[in-house]
């Protein structure tokens, strides 16, 4: 299987050979940042297009059809429009925070995004507390949302932001517990090792019942983290017009829009890394030939395939269910998901201690 690490190492060595260390480092940083942002944007466009088509299919309609073949260019048109749309500055808003908020949200999501392992060695940062870092980076997006709601000087935005705060902080707990289940199972927090450990079998199979429960809880909590239906209360179209980003126009709104979709990608990406083996191919013990064929499929295809499958699952959920009420959202977390998650963690620990895992 292709190890992406060899390419990056070669590039690194070449750069070091032609220029001083500091310059090489700087250049590498810029290159990596460019790649990350470019990939981020491209994936966002793919995601938005996918959302519109999938949603249409669930609703018996066709979705974008007329811009490009099968509407393929639809999202590009939206991006061009968005880029030149006027950005309104709101009278009597907190200008600094108001302008900062969308960047905070996007930064948090780019930062988390760049930690995802796309293939073997195809990862910006791989250190021993990778999972922990992802959690930390993803959780400061809520700060941007709170600031956006606060600084807009709009009552709808304010209510949306407060809802968002309550919701995201609650569901962070469940996400943490689900990730802990996997950490307990694998004994590491380093992402490359986590994936490596799944080469002979994905954690969702290895950890059987507790891992599966953790997967489901993770998907529910992840859906809530990304503010998507049935947890889209901070935006709640029919209640708060557009929630925390009511007052944002043009590209500022575009940032929130893109970040929402990319957070979904990130949640799905983490789910596929932790539970479905990331870039590790599907291996079934005993089927040697089958496993060999699977190995020919590149790791990034595996990763993206699994991620998009999870995304599709989440879209399916989104386009089926009605929205919940804020007290129900919070009670779902504290009365159901959190206790179940704790018990689940206990079960997993017992399983690991007794060696009842595959």
């Amino acid at each position: 299987m292709l190890d992406f690490g060899t390419i990056t190492t070669a590039t690194d060595q070449y750069l070091h050979s032609v220029m001083p260390t500091q310059a090489a480092l700087l250049l590498e940083c810029i290159l990596v940042a460019l790649c990350a942002v470019l990939a981020y944007v491209m994936l966002a466009i793919v995601m938005i297009f996918m959302e519109r088509k999938v949603c249409a299919a669930f609703q018996c309609r066709l979705g974008p059809m007329r811009v490009g073949v099968w509407g393929l260019l639809q999202v590009f048109a939206d991006v061009f429009k968005m880029l030149i749309k006027e950005i309104i500055s709101i009278d009597r808003s907190d200008k600094l925070l108001y302008n900062l908020a969308p960047y905070l949200v996007v930064m948090s999501s780019v930062l988390t995004f760049s930690c995802l392992p796309f293939a073997q060695g195809f990862q910006v940062l791989d250190f021993n507390i990778g999972v922990f870092f992802i959690m930390a980076a993803s959780s400061f997006g809520v700060l941007g949302i709170l600031l956006a709601g606060w600084s807009s000087n709009n009552k709808y935005s304010m209510i949306g932001a407060v809802r968002s705060g309550a919701q995201m902080i609650s569901y962070e707990l469940s996400i943490g517990l689900c990730i802990l289940v996997i950490v307990v199972l694998s004994g590491t927090m380093q992402i490359s090792e986590l994936v490596e450990a799944q080469r002979d079998g994905w954690f969702i199979f290895k950890g059987h019942i507790p891992a599966f429960t953790a997967f489901i809880i993770y998907l529910i909590a992840g859906n809530a983290e990304t503010n998507r239906a049935p947890f889209d209360l901070p935006e709640a179209e029919s209640e708060l017009t557009a929630g925390f980003h009511t007052e944002y126009s043009g590209m500022h709104f575009g940032f929130f829009y893109v970040a929402e979709f990319m957070n979904l990608f990130i949640v799905a990406g983490i789910a596929s890394t932790l539970f479905l083996g990331g870039w590790a191919p599907l291996h079934i013990a005993g089927f040697g030939a089958f496993n060999a064929i699977m190995d020919y499929i590149p790791g990034s295809v595996w990763f993206l395939g699994k991620t998009f499958f999870v995304i599709w699952l989440l879209m399916w959920v989104r386009w089926t269910f009605p929205r919940m009420r804020i007290d129900q959202v919070v009670s779902l977390e504290w009365k159901y998901l959190l206790p179940i998650g704790l018990v689940n963690l206990l079960i997993m620990t017992i399983c690991v201690v007794c060696g009842w895992t595959f």
Partner: protein, 521 residues
């Protein structure tokens, strides 16, 4: 049927007497301007158990300071009806707690439905400045730092210093241009103030200058989701007054179309309720199937929404040859699809959690507020006009009046779903037996109604729709009043909303199922 006028002094005692005698449903208050004889109002009452009706007319002689005693404590809905009469006629209701205008801006000059109202643009031009609510008092002070110009301190008489948010007029969940001002405590609603009139089009005033066939066109646009039933009511009223008896064929067609319209409206209700609760997919499913009804409408009447079908003495055009086949096809299709909505939305845990026990309207309140239609029946009040005062063919067909008893959002939702099935049941009984005959009775070219008062009521898609005509023998009415289906529902909002959250407001608004142009007229 000319009721005697009651003096304004004796009026209050008389009304109390009537209320004690079981007249617990105030159908409508019709403001009147009898010209020289003075201003006044006609109260139409009904006994909710015996269905006995009566009319009380009260007249005050003074045109400058007309006053009538308020009856808002006897019938809760009178609070809004009286505000409407005040708005249009300038009659002050003594002891009314909140005598503000209901529809027009508070800086409006004059009372439009009075006969001597001056309509000129100069008096009431289009005012482009924002309306300042009457309950808000603004104090202007010069701020300490000269940078800022003026410091505005706002005090509010209704809400005090509670946290107020505005929902509407442009808001996705108000189904049009209704406006609520809410006082919030966190997510909980403490108080609500409803503002109507953002689509008040003055239909009743315009009607006084138009001929009867011309007025017919307005009824379609009142509540566009019961366009057919509204028009049915007005045609019925005029036919009754002129002594025209429509043929059997017409009655069959009208009944079938009424029920199709009801299905259409309930499907839209279901879709919009789902959308308000965030289930956009169910919304699309509902609309997908609604198109099938609209196809039938378009085939027969030529209009999808505004059908223009009933005319005085019959219908505009005969049904098409394959009408019966298409309707039967649709009925069979729709029966299957109800199951789909139920599976994806109605029985869903989230939906049930959002709706069960939310926004309870008790039976007493439903009657007192006059909440007819599905909302009233969900509270256990058998208020279906089709059963109470049968018209057209409703005494000949077999159907069940759907009644639930909890009065919460979920019951209001279920009532409509079941009513779709009942409507299909009615249609199936009629569709194969449409008798031959003329689709229209010949009428005189100019339609005049003999002097007198006439009224008719039908069961619209969302309640009792009434028409009241006072004629002086001309080709246009002296006074025409439509009983709105939605106004009582909106009047009951503040009662229903006790202790609800913002999200509940949306669910309650969606399930009460009002259409704003019908409220505002």
């Amino acid at each position: 049927m000319n009721p005697t006028f009651i003096d304004t002094e004796k009026f209050r005692a008389q009304m109390e007497e009537l209320r004690r005698n079981g007249m617990d449903f105030l159908r409508d208050i019709i403001g009147m301007d009898w010209g020289e004889e003075g201003l006044g109002a006609i109260y139409t009452l009904e006994n909710s158990s015996t269905h006995e009706t009566c009319e009380v007319a009260v007249r005050c002689t003074s045109r400058e300071t007309p006053t009538i005693a308020s009856v808002y404590d006897l019938w809760s809905v009178a609070e809004f009806y009286e505000r409407e009469v005040y708005d249009f006629f300038g009659i002050k209701f003594v002891n009314h707690p909140d005598m503000r205008r209901l529809f027009l801006r508070n800086d409006w000059v004059g009372y439009p439905l009075r006969k001597d109202y001056d309509e000129s643009e100069a008096i009431n031009p289009i005012r482009m400045e924002n309306e300042i609510p009457e309950d808000v008092q603004r104090d202007y002070e010069i701020a300490e730092d000269a940078e800022r110009e003026l410091y505005v301190k706002q005090t509010n008489k209704i809400f005090g210093d509670q946290y107020i948010i505005n929902i509407g007029p442009q808001h996705p969940a108000t189904h049009g241009v209704l406006r609520f001002r809410l006082a919030l405590d966190g997510e909980e609603i403490r108080k609500i103030d409803v503002h109507c009139g953002y689509i008040h089009r003055g239909i009743e005033k315009m009607s006084e200058k138009m001929t009867y066939p011309q007025i017919l066109a307005f009824t379609d646009r009142l509540d566009y989701l019961s366009a057919h039933q509204n028009r049915h009511a007005l045609c019925m009223c005029i036919e009754k007054a002129m002594g025209i008896e429509p043929t059997g064929r017409v009655q069959y067609i009208r009944t079938i179309m009424d029920e199709l319209q009801r299905i259409d409206s309930h499907l839209l209700f279901l879709s919009c309720a789902a959308m308000d609760l965030g289930a956009i997919t169910t919304f699309i499913y509902g609309f997908r199937d609604r198109e099938k009804v609209l196809d039938i409408f378009e085939e027969v009447t030529g209009g999808r929404l505004i059908q223009n079908y009933n005319v005085i003495g019959g219908v505009q055009a005969d049904i098409t040859p394959d009408f019966a086949r298409k309707v039967k096809e649709f009925c069979n299709y729709q029966k299957r699809k109800i199951e789909e909505y139920n599976n994806v939305f109605t029985y869903n845990t989230i939906t049930r959690k959002r709706m069960i026990g939310v926004g309870v309207l008790s039976r007493e309140d439903a009657i007192s507020y006059g909440c007819t239609g599905g909302s009233g029946r969900a509270s256990g009040w058998a208020c279906d006009v089709r059963k109470r005062h049968p018209y057209a063919l409703y005494d000949k067909v077999d159907f069940k009046e759907i009644i639930y008893n909890n009065g919460d959002c979920y019951d209001r939702f279920l009532v409509r779903i079941d009513e779709i099935l009942q409507s299909i049941h009615i249609i199936e009984q009629l569709i194969d037996n449409i008798p031959e005959g003329d689709y229209k009775v010949k009428t005189k070219p100019i339609i005049r109604i003999p002097e007198g008062r006439y009224s008719a009521a039908v069961e619209g898609s969302r309640g009792e729709f009434g028409v009241f005509i006072e004629s002086r023998g001309d080709k246009s009415p002296y006074r025409l009043k439509f009983r709105p289906m939605g106004l009582p529902l909106v009047a009951a909002m503040h009662k229903i909303l006790k202790g609800a959250k913002i999200a509940d407001l949306i669910a309650i608004g969606a399930t009460l199922d009002y259409v704003i142009p019908d409220i505002d007229r």
